[in-house]
């Protein structure tokens, strides 16, 4: 049953299993284990980023395609929900319409980009997605009539998902039974299902072909698989899942803006999460996203403290400034691509 649920893809390491179970339990009971707005915010973010990173891994790790447009798909999903909620009024139908429309648009766009670039050379894909993603980001911030421009959009989600709604009196284990809790569990369950779905996809015959193509596309082509078709379909699935993750993010935040959904910084974050967790393993996405989001939320404070303690030394405070945290991530990123291409998961499995 459990193995079936995981599509036969076991963690294959005791340590990894423990970590994964700890993360699952932590996320499943986050509102009770870690009370407080900030930790709930972190937990929801982790759920959403696990899906986003896992969908990116389907492209990068399993198909060997580098895309820089993943935040664009993420943003399309988020703006789908935002626009639907703005124009259709608050309600679950608006959320559903926005999510489905966002996923379809993302998949269609991925299909077009894929047909243009993957047909010729897989390396074109990286450059073309970079160009298209920045064009879309510029367009979104300029079409302020539709998208709210740089300010983004604030909109209302169904009352049942807001803190104002109470579905039971009193509190349970010190947690108030309000819509925020329901919202968190909506995010958690949707993310969990999406993750299992991705796990199913990569362990299906389709996923095997993708891995074959990644290892040797020429050979896969000669065996008779249509490489372009497989790569394009993988791209479309990945884009659609990323868009749904964006929709979840929009439902959680009740706000979308270019900075939170479309910026290139998020793209870099996704890349780091995939590489640190381990490319080509879905579990890597879980570990990478969890580690990264926690580090992002709590480690930056630590850097600030460190910068203050060495303030007497020249240059060091500048290097340890919390604003320079990307510098250290960049170093970590390059080092992990060189030395641990299979990431934390590969280390734990002892295969790297």
């Amino acid at each position: 049953m459990l193995v079936n649920l995981l599509s036969g893809d076991r963690p294959r390491s005791r340590m990894l299993t423990l970590v994964l179970v700890a993360i699952l339990v932590g996320l499943a009971f986050a509102p009770f284990l870690f009370p407080g707005t900030r930790s709930l915010e972190t937990a929801a973010r982790i759920c959403i980023f696990i899906v986003l990173v896992a969908s990116y891994d389907l492209m990068l790790g399993y198909s060997g395609i580098v895309s820089f447009a993943h935040t664009m798909f993420f943003g399309i999903g988020a703006y789908g929900v935002a626009l639907a909620s703005t124009h259709m009024g608050r309600g679950f139908d608006a959320l559903l319409t926005g999510t489905v429309a966002g996923a379809l648009v993302a998949a269609l766009l991925a299909l077009i980009i894929g047909l243009f670039s993957l047909r010729v050379r897989a390396i074109f894909f990286a450059m073309i997605t970079l160009a298209v993603a920045s064009a879309v980001a510029v367009l979104v911030s300029q079409l302020s009539g539709l998208t709210g421009g740089e300010d983004g959009l604030n909109y209302r989600i169904p009352r049942a998902l807001t803190p104002a709604f109470k579905f039971a009196d009193g509190s349970f284990l010190g947690v108030r039974m309000n819509g925020k809790l329901l919202n968190y569990y909506l995010i958690f369950i949707a993310s969990f299902v999406l993750f299992l779905l991705l796990l199913r996809i990569v362990n299906s015959p389709f996923g095997r072909v993708l891995q074959a193509i990644r290892e040797n596309d020429f050979r896969a082509e000669s065996i008779g698989y249509r490489v372009v078709l497989y790569r394009t379909v993988a791209t479309c699935i990945s884009a659609a899942v990323a868009a749904i993750a964006g929709s979840l993010f929009a439902i959680w935040l009740r706000y979308v803006g270019p900075d939170t959904t479309l910026s290139f910084e998020i793209m870099i974050d996704i890349l780091l999460m995939v590489v640190i967790g381990g490319m080509g393993t879905m579990y890597g996405a879980v570990i990478g996203a969890t580690l990264f989001v926690i580090a992002q939320n709590y480690l930056q404070n630590l850097m600030g403290v460190a910068a203050e303690t060495v303030s007497a030394v020249p240059l060091l405070p500048d290097l340890l400034n919390p604003d320079r945290w990307l510098l250290w991530l960049g170093v970590l990123f390059v080092l992990s691509v060189y030395f641990f291409p299979s990431g934390v998961v590969g280390r734990l499995r002892g295969t790297s």
């Binding site: 010729v120 450059m127 073309i128 160009a131 960049g330």
Partner: protein, 343 residues
């Protein structure tokens, strides 16, 4: 049993059409200019836009040429190329500030000298940096595209952050040297002097590069290496050294492009390299990876397109270039002037 047909060898020259077809992209630049003229209709604004489009195209060409050659020669795609643009701009600006006495005087000689010193400094700096980048970042990942893209992207992030550490987190505003400020009026159109200078530098650079590639021995080796690297190595040339030289030269050119771009925008930021790289990638793709001439034509097209649409419909400037790329890839999926690989 039928008799085998008699063997009649004949020499046929390719028809005029066949011989001209590879050069067809050359026509695109005038065609785009005419289209721009038809949609703008005002001669003087068209002239201004065309000159600034050409200037922008030349600067993009300077930055893109190194990238496309590096790819053609060693199959290395460097996403960190933008880092050289930013670093070049920052070094150049620092030198220009230090030479404030020379840039503020209304003497064209002193001004140009200051710019020359800044450009030389920036090029030297980025050349050294390019060498280090090649050694540290690119060398361990030869032959693996996926890792190349990831690692060079990581390199770009690190360099951008180091710029913040060295030069501070804010953008730096600068003014052009005294004699390069202002505009000249020609046929009722105001044309900025600096843009004319940029066009001139770009054109000279293109001609020098073309001459180097077509008429010198090193150019011959580079062109042969792009077409069939293994063969060149079998003939006894150390293609690795040639490659490093091209990489360093490409980085230096990116630094030059960075200084020129900084003077054009009159502001430098750590992100500028990353932003300009988007146009550079479009240029490299539509030109055909590895082709310098395709890169030149592509850069002019992108520069003109950007300026025309920015005038007609400002919101669509970048989108129009994506459209241009899509149109060209539909026409020629490998880019305008694909490099024939003997593999």
């Amino acid at each position: 049993m039928s008799i085998a047909p008699e063997h009649v060898p004949k020499m046929e020259t390719a028809s005029l059409g066949e011989r001209l077809a590879p050069h067809a992209p050359l026509l695109l630049v005038p065609v785009l200019m005419i289209l721009g003229f038809l949609s703008i209709t005002n001669t003087s604004s068209w002239l201004t836009l065309t000159v600034s489009g050409l200037a922008m195209g030349m600067m993009i060409f300077i930055m893109a040429s190194g990238l496309t050659l590096v790819f053609g020669l060693m199959d290395v795609i460097n996403f960190g190329h933008g880092a050289f643009v930013s670093v070049g701009a920052f070094i150049g600006v620092t030198i220009l500030f230090a030479l404030g006495g020379m840039t503020e005087q209304p003497s064209i000689l002193l001004n140009l000298l200051a710019v020359l010193v800044a450009v030389t400094g920036a090029m030297a700096g980025t050349a050294i940096m390019g060498w280090a980048f090649e050694r540290v970042i690119v060398k361990p990942v030869y032959g693996a595209h996926l890792k190349q893209i990831l690692v060079t992207m990581g390199g770009l992030i690190i360099v951008e952050q180091l710029i913040h550490v060295v030069w501070g987190p804010d953008e730096i505003f600068l003014t052009r040297p005294e004699t390069l400020k202002g505009a000249v009026t020609f046929a009722g159109a105001a044309i900025e002097k600096y843009r004319l200078l940029a066009v001139a530098i770009g054109l000279v650079l293109f001609l020098v590069m073309r001459w180097t590639l077509k008429s010198t021995k090193i150019g011959l080796i580079v062109r042969a290496g792009v077409e069939n690297g293994e063969m060149v190595e079998a003939l006894g040339y150390r293609l690795r050294l040639v490659f490093i030289a091209v990489f360093v030269a490409g980085s230096a050119l990116a630094g030059l492009g960075g200084v020129m771009w900084g003077l054009y925008q009159e502001v430098v930021t750590a992100h500028m390299g990353q932003q300009i790289m988007i146009l550079v990638f479009i240029v490299v793709i539509i030109g055909g990876l590895g082709s310098v001439e395709g890169c030149f034509i592509g850069a002019l097209l992108v520069g003109l397109m950007q300026n025309y649409t920015a005038f007609l419909e400002p919101k669509l400037a970048l989108v129009s270039n994506i459209g241009l790329m899509v149109a060209i890839l539909m026409w020629r999926p490998q880019g305008m002037m694909p490099v024939v690989k003997a593999k």
